[in-house]
């Protein structure tokens, strides 16, 4: 054992540069993995906090009336911080503006809500002023809409207040709350002074909780539900809000896990290719050791020890570098970052990355090392008969081990076995395709390259592809896999960013109009167009209630404790629409969307949102009866739809076909996209003047929150992809550099026989160009397939295919290969042959 370690150490002395190359791949792979893991955890926490800011608390309890004293007393015993909010709908009167009136939400806060996120006002200290006396904080749009100034007076109920500032943003607002009317904040005492609290029917009370670290809001919610029964309370937790945020955050984490997987796999490819070349150079030494009495196991162990320590060293340095990158880069780039990340080192991520990196590295090192076991001592006296070409049964086991480890790592990284298995299978497909391509190239180079018609340097370069000891398999595999993995990232990044921009981007509707009567919609469209902000969406709304569900009266189902159907789905008033086609924010997942039926149809085909269908436990063909303002309408489920609720567009649980509801009393909902608060105010003022009964809801503030989250998401994706692509480029260069050692002797020999530097360069250029192009094209094709599969199955979004990005990336891979090849061989052609030979042996 002692000899093995001693020999491994001594033998490494002259090969440190080459071992450093092997190690470099591991270092960068693990650095990327650790950096991604740790930064990912940081971002997860940041996004978590951002998500918390959507709620403003850990748990919020809402009631449609005042909390009973006992409930309030109980709330105050909950550990952590507590805040109470009362809100009611009232009119605000602007005496300085000709006593104009506006329906608003009047609110009062007690406690330090919001606990997460920031209440943004102009001036910044407005809220403190409001709490101190007779002041009001008004939503910015009201100030713009009515031309009210800070310092003006407003009247609410029986009270008169001075406008202290404008409200720009408050966390904890859901779109539904903000939709009804703009917000006005008063102090709790001021609210009592208005006399509005006497009209309890219009009041909403909220209790906000900030819980100590480690407290599970869901558990507290459960406890509260048990303790406070019969009060019809609504609970909201961050987890629920996160679910509302939808698929997008999941996409980011999936992408991060993909990046981590790719980074380490790139490192593994680098390790395997560098080690392959290293081991080939050690064959003579192994043969001598075998002659001197070393067993196959001893010889193998010597290089395994080297491989293991390269892995350990790479893992440690990689982990340190990963931590450094994670800590340093955001600091260096802080001026360019769209947000601030509170940095911490995620030791769990560091341990996971280091360990996974080490295991994968050692396994990939074993692959080339198996050759050592088969080196015959005869090689010491005769080179021709030294290699055992019979298949090595251990190799099959090792392949199986690598497949298991890679799949296991992929599953660990992805968090879902289906996704992990998909990653691993795609990797296997890539490996198989490239290996097949390498064999094909070797065969074709031998079979089809013309022996006479081409110049010598071309023939020599092409012959290098098939001659003994060629690098075709090694380079095609390493370059091809590198290109494949990197391009997959580049393409997936585009796909994902396109998806996010589609949801969070700048051209969505952000000003909505409600309660538009039949005869007002045309006038509204004209007003919007004249303002330069034409209607981008409109939908008729017919209110209805569900009376029968699959033949059972809704009341009966409600009373059935075993039904498992949430009460709200049966009690609520549905605001449904009718239209002839699907909107771009929905798609049919089952059945067929029917856009029109003949009037008088006995059973109407209706499309239902799939989440609601699940809650109502209904399937295609099930029959429902609606009460459409006194008229029963029988419908059957013709299709299920998936709706992107995050896209703030008119969407509905039930969509009827044209030809049924046209005669029913209805209102319209319409939406426009405004570019600025001023544009929004201008249109709202015009509509307020000409069509005063129409309500407007400005979604700009809500969208702002979404946009800020999505811009962070986009940044993370770009940063991580860029870091891993750099790793890939280094692995590509490393693969070419290690391949250099295989050709060095014959290059020197050709030089000795009189080959000019130009001739040598041409030979290399031909070989590297063919290999680089084939690897890049095959890798590119694999990446296109990989991106398509990821888009279809993981991100569930249309594929974004950018031929320019693909062409540019393929060209870049070829340039990196050829340039590295030529640069690294420069040393060989510039020095006397003997000097090179002495250094390289």
């Amino acid at each position: 054992m002692n000899f093995i370690f001693k020999m491994a150490w001594r033998d490494s002395r002259a090969s440190r540069r080459r071992l450093a190359l092997v190690s470099l791949s591991v270092v960068l792979g693990i650095a990327a993995l650790v950096g991604i893991g740790s930064l990912g955890d940081n971002l997860r926490r940041t996004v978590e906090q951002q998500t918390k800011s959507l709620l403003g608390s850990d748990l919020t309890v809402t009631a449609r009336k005042a909390f009973p004293a006992a409930t309030l007393a109980y709330f105050r015993t909950v550990p952590g911080e507590f805040a109470r909010e009362i809100s009611l709908t009232s009119m605000v009167n602007f005496p300085t503006r000709g006593n104009q009136r506006r329906l608003v939400q009047v609110r009062a806060l007690e406690g330090n809500f919001p606990f997460y996120g920031e209440l943004v006002t102009e001036p910044a200290d407005t809220m403190a002023k409001v709490r101190s006396g007779n002041f009001a904080l008004l939503e910015e749009t009201i100030l713009v809409q009515f031309g009210v100034q800070v310092g003006d007076e407003v009247r609410i109920g029986q009270g008169t207040f001075t406008v202290a500032g404008s409200l720009k943003k408050i966390p904890g607002e859901s779109a539904a709350v903000a939709m009804f009317s703009p917000r006005v904040y008063l102090s709790m005492a001021s609210l009592e002074a208005t006399g509005l609290l006497k009209r309890q029917g219009f009041m909403t009370q909220r209790a906000h909780f900030k819980l100590p670290a480690g407290t599970d809001p869901a558990a507290l919610e459960k406890e509260m539900r048990e303790k406070i029964k019969g009060e019809r309370l609504q609970f909201a937790t961050v987890e629920e809000r996160k679910r509302d945020l939808g698929q997008n955050l999941k996409d980011v984490y999936s992408f991060l896990s993909l990046v981590g997987f790719i980074a380490l796999f790139l490192g593994a490819v680098g390790v395997a290719s560098a080690m392959h070349v290293y081991v080939r150079q050690k064959v003579a030494t192994v043969a001598v050791l075998r002659c001197l009495g070393a067993s196959a196991r001893t010889s193998f162990a010597i290089y395994l020890v080297q491989g293991f320590f390269i892995g350990v060293l790479g893992a440690v340095v990689g982990a340190a570098l990963g931590i450094g990158v994670q800590l340093l880069l955001p600091t260096v780039l802080k001026d360019f970052l769209p947000f601030q990340v509170e940095l911490f080192v995620s030791w769990a991520a560091v341990a996971k990355g280091t360990l996974a990196g080490l295991v994968i590295c050692v396994l990939f090192t074993l692959l080339p090392l198996l050759t050592v076991r088969r080196v015959s001592p005869l090689l010491a006296i005769r080179s021709a008969q030294g290699e055992n070409t019979a298949p090595d049964p251990l190799r099959r086991w090792l392949y199986a081990g690598i497949a298991v480890a890679v799949t296991g790592f992929a599953i660990l990284q992805a968090g879902r076995w289906q996704v992990g298995l998909g990653f691993a299978l795609m990797m296997g497909l890539g490996f198989g395709t490239l290996a097949g391509m390498a064999l094909l190239v070797t065969w074709a180079a031998k079979r089809f390259v013309p022996r006479r018609s081409l110049p010598y340097t071309w023939r020599q370069g092409l012959a290098n592809l098939h001659r003994p000891n060629n690098r075709t398999v090694l380079l095609l595999l390493s370059l091809g896999l590198g290109t494949f993995l990197m391009l997959t990232l580049v393409l997936t990044r585009s796909t994902l960013l396109a998806k996010i921009t589609g949801i969070g981007g700048g051209s969505r509707p952000n000003l909505m109009f409600f309660d538009i009567q039949d005869d007002q919609i045309t006038r509204l469209a004209a007003l919007a167009k004249a303002n330069g902000t034409p209607l981008v969406a409109q939908a008729p709304i017919v209110t209805m209630k569900l009376t029968m569900l699959k033949g059972r009266p809704a009341e009966e189902v409600l009373k059935d404790p075993k039904s498992g159907i949430p009460g709200w789905t049966l009690r609520r008033e549905y605001r449904s629409s009718y239209r002839g086609a699907l909107s771009d924010t929905e798609k049919v997942t089952a059945g067929k969307f029917i856009g029109r039926v003949a009037p008088g149809e006995a059973r109407v085909p209706v499309s239902v949102e799939e989440g609601l269908a699940k809650d109502l436990q209904i399937q295609l063909g099930d029959v429902l009866t609606f009460d459409v303002q006194g008229v029963p309408v029988t419908a059957y489920i013709a299709s299920l739809r998936q709706v992107e609720w995050q896209r703030m567009q008119p969407n509905f649980f039930f969509v009827f076909p044209d030809g049924v509801l046209e005669a029913a009393p209805k209102t319209f909902l319409a939406a426009v996209h405004v570019g600025s608060p001023a544009e929004s105010a201008r249109l709202q003022q015009a509509v307020g003047r000409e069509l005063p009964s129409i309500s407007a809801i400005d979604l700009a503030l809500i969208l702002q929150t979404f946009d800020s989250i999505f811009s962070k998401v986009a940044f993370v994706i770009t940063f991580m992809a860029a870091f891993t692509v750099v790793t890939g480029v280094i692995v590509l260069a490393g693969a070419v550099l290690t391949g250099r050692f295989q050709r060095i002797r014959e290059t020197v020999l050709l030089r000795t026989l009189g080959a000019t530097r130009r001739q040598l360069r041409q030979i290399q250029l031909v070989e590297y160009t063919v290999l680089g192009m084939l690897a890049a094209l095959t890798g590119g094709a694999l990446a296109v397939l990989g991106n398509a599969l990821l888009a279809r199955f993981l991100f569930k979004t249309p594929v974004v295919f950018s031929p320019l990005v693909l062409l540019g990336s393929v060209a870049a891979a070829v340039v990196v290969t050829v340039a590295t090849g030529l640069l690294t061989n420069r040393g060989v052609t510039d020095h006397p042959p003997l000097e090179v030979l002495r250094q390289e042996t």
Binding site: A14, C291, G293, A380
Partner: protein, 230 residues
């Protein structure tokens, strides 16, 4: 096999499978070497000299026939067991020196004993290097040594494990006349001092005649086996 016999070769045949059919490079070769004797195997290129040396030293397995080395029949042993026999009983000197490039001269010499797990033999290794005239070059790497110096290092390495038998494959083939002569003196000198059996494969008849016996090979068969007159 008597206790005095170091190497016994019986009807040794080696056949390689090639694309053009089987190729027999050694055909039913038999001889016996007493301990402490020296033999030269000579013959033209392709006569099977190196193949014979490889089989006798346990570097390869015969297609048929047997080799008994230091009373151990090595033909039936697996590769690791043969490695053990080589480590215990055999020393090598190769035409192309075959020093491990990453080890210093001293470390190269120590490899066979370290492989056995023996420690504390450094002084002996230094002494051996001094004996071959390289006492000042212990810490030099092969690339820093001349061809003759590399071969002398290889000789020191061959003797460090006190081998019972020394196989030399064209030991002077890569050396100039003077260096080769000095090398020959060293080989025979050490051989005498330590009572080692010597098997020498060479083209050089002058060198062959310094052995007690000369076996001539031609196309894989023994054509003569003569004792050299003292």
């Amino acid at each position: 096999m008597s206790e005095q016999t170091m190497l016994k070769v019986e009807r040794l045949t080696k056949t390689y499978r090639t694309a053009g059919g089987p190729l027999t490079v050694l055909h039913e070769v038999s001889f016996v070497l007493p301990a402490g004797s020296s033999v030269a195997v000579v013959g033209p290129s392709g006569s099977g000299k190196t193949t014979l040396l490889g089989l006798c030293a346990g570097l390869d397995r015969p297609s048929s026939g047997s080799v008994t080395l230091a009373n151990e029949p090595i033909g039936a042993l697996d590769e690791d067991a043969r490695a053990l026999v080589r480590n215990r009983h055999v020393g090598f000197v190769f035409q192309n020196f075959q020093l491990i490039p990453t080890l210093t001269a001293l470390e190269n010499v120590l490899v066979p004993v370290e492989l056995r797990g023996e420690a504390g033999r450094e002084a002996e290794a230094r002494e051996l290097l001094a004996r071959v005239g390289l006492g000042e070059r212990c810490d030099h790497y092969p690339v820093q040594l001349s061809g003759g110096e590399q071969q002398r290092t290889a000789l020191a390495r061959a003797f460090i494990n006190r081998p019972k038998i020394l196989f030399c494959d064209e030991p002077t083939g890569n050396l100039d006349g003077d260096t080769a002569a000095a090398m020959v003196e060293l080989i025979f000198g050490l051989n005498r001092e330590r009572g080692t059996t010597l098997v020498l494969v060479t083209h050089d008849l002058e060198l062959a005649r310094r052995c007690q016996r000369i076996i001539r090979l031609k196309t894989g068969a023994v054509v003569s086996d003569q004792t050299v007159a003292a």
